[in-house]
């Protein structure tokens, strides 16, 4: 009787326990897999297992910004991100389909990403990583809460495409 009760208790505990890990996708370049050296916007998904969290966008970006693992690099994965940029994310929140990504100022650690190829690698990896979540339809970025600083760094104008670099959402948000 006592054994049966213990078994039932264990069964209930297992059923109530949340999943041990959450599986997310991050995206990296791989020229060998792409089969071409002239398109920097081609990225491939890699999986990451993280502790369960409701803040999935932040968890995914933190994994992306840490860059490929040694095994992935050995298999040809490349990314602008590495251990040096693991702390790049300041915060991310999603409102009305837009992911607002605020970055720490690590421009010195990412000097090549303002070239046309580097921008494609950087932008596409972030875009695809966030768009795995159906609530994200577009992505806006800022450095230290200032989208204009990000746009200037990237040689982008402040126009309709980036909400004219409006800093207000980055100051508010969740």
């Amino acid at each position: 009787m006592r054994a049966a009760a213990a078994g039932l208790a264990l069964l209930l505990a297992c059923a109530a326990a949340p999943a041990a890990t959450l599986t997310l996708r991050v995206y990296f370049n791989n020229a060998q897999q792409a089969g071409r050296m002239d398109n920097c916007a081609i990225v491939f998904p890699r999986t990451r297992s993280v502790p369960p969290t409701p803040a999935v966008a932040g968890a995914a970006l933190r994994q992306l910004f840490a860059g490929p693992t040694e095994a992935e690099r050995a298999a040809g994965d490349r990314s602008p991100f590495s251990a040096a940029t693991a702390g790049l994310l300041k915060r991310v929140f999603i409102e009305h389909g837009t992911a607002y990504v605020d970055l720490h100022d690590l421009r010195a650690q990412l000097p090549g990403v303002t070239s046309s190829c580097g921008a494609a690698e950087f932008g596409m990896a972030i875009e695809r990583t966030l768009r795995q979540f159906p609530t994200v339809r577009r992505v806006l970025l800022a450095i230290d809460g200032d989208p204009r600083r990000y746009a200037e760094w990237m040689g982008q104008d402040c126009d309709l495409r980036n909400d004219h670099c409006d800093p207000a959402p980055f100051r508010g948000g969740r």
Partner: protein, 254 residues
């Protein structure tokens, strides 16, 4: 007639405004490309989202010439990216009133191309191609605006762009290429030069001859022969080499 060169400094928008005020006839911003992958390599030119056909044709001509010289491919749409990738780089060139190009001839991250960027010969070859492109598209001379990518920005004075594989920075070497180009444009004869046919090994001139402006030049890869068809309607291809000579060459290769 003749060319004057002015280097513009400050943030990119201010550089373009200053070039507009000076009534420059062409605007060149020099960068090098960069990738997380050391194998990425192609020549590309960013033109503004509002680029004129002159800017587009100039960019395509330049990218093709670089690709041919350095044995690489052209990127983008036939060598140009209109408006940059997702608007990135567009702001560097779209505010000019004159044709404008943002050059990314080689990859700073590609070890062999980085070596070429650091070398005198590589810089000289890039300078010659750029000078030729300016002479071709702006034959009447005038003020040419040069902008060194990343360097001299008021908002980010320490920016030097991408690191070259093996040492050095993108901006410092882009500046060297532009300085060499400036010398070629201002020190060479101001008179119109005839169209020249050149054979070069790296930046070393092996053979040079003037050809008719309208001549159509053909390359026969089978016969390693560059030829110009007779203007009187004679057959386009030159006469075949004697069979004996062909056989001798074949034996020599074997």
């Amino acid at each position: 007639m003749g060319y004057r060169i002015k280097f513009y400094k400050g943030d990119y928008f201010q550089r373009q405004q200053a070039a507009n005020a000076d009534k420059a006839v062409a605007y060149v911003e020099h960068h090098f490309n960069s990738s997380a992958s050391p194998t990425a390599n192609y020549a590309v030119v960013v033109v503004g989202s509002n680029a004129s056909s002159t800017s587009r044709n100039w960019g395509r001509w330049y990218a093709k010439a670089v690709a041919e010289q350095f044995g690489t491919k052209v990127g983008g749409d036939g060598g140009i990216l209109v408006g940059g990738w997702d608007g990135r780089g567009d702001g560097n060139v779209k505010h000019t009133k004159m044709p404008a190009v943002l050059l990314e001839p080689l990859f700073a991250s590609h070890p062999q191309q980085a070596e070429a960027i650091r070398s005198e010969a590589g810089q000289a070859a890039l300078a010659r191609i750029l000078a030729e492109s300016i002479r071709r598209f702006f034959p009447d001379g005038g003020l040419i605006a040069f902008s060194v990518g990343h360097k001299y920005k008021t908002s980010s004075p320490n920016d030097r762009g991408a690191a070259l594989a093996g040492g050095g920075t993108e901006a410092d070497h882009a500046e060297k290429v532009l300085e060499k180009t400036a010398r070629l444009l201002t020190e060479e004869a101001a008179e119109p030069t005839p169209r020249m046919l050149r054979v070069m090994q790296g930046d070393r001139l092996l053979f040079e001859t003037a050809v008719d402006e309208d001549a159509v030049i053909h390359w026969s890869s089978d016969r390693n022969l560059l030829f110009i068809p007779d203007s009187d309607g004679a057959p386009a291809a030159p006469r075949a080499a004697p069979a004996a000579a062909k056989a001798k060459r074949k034996r020599a290769r074997a």
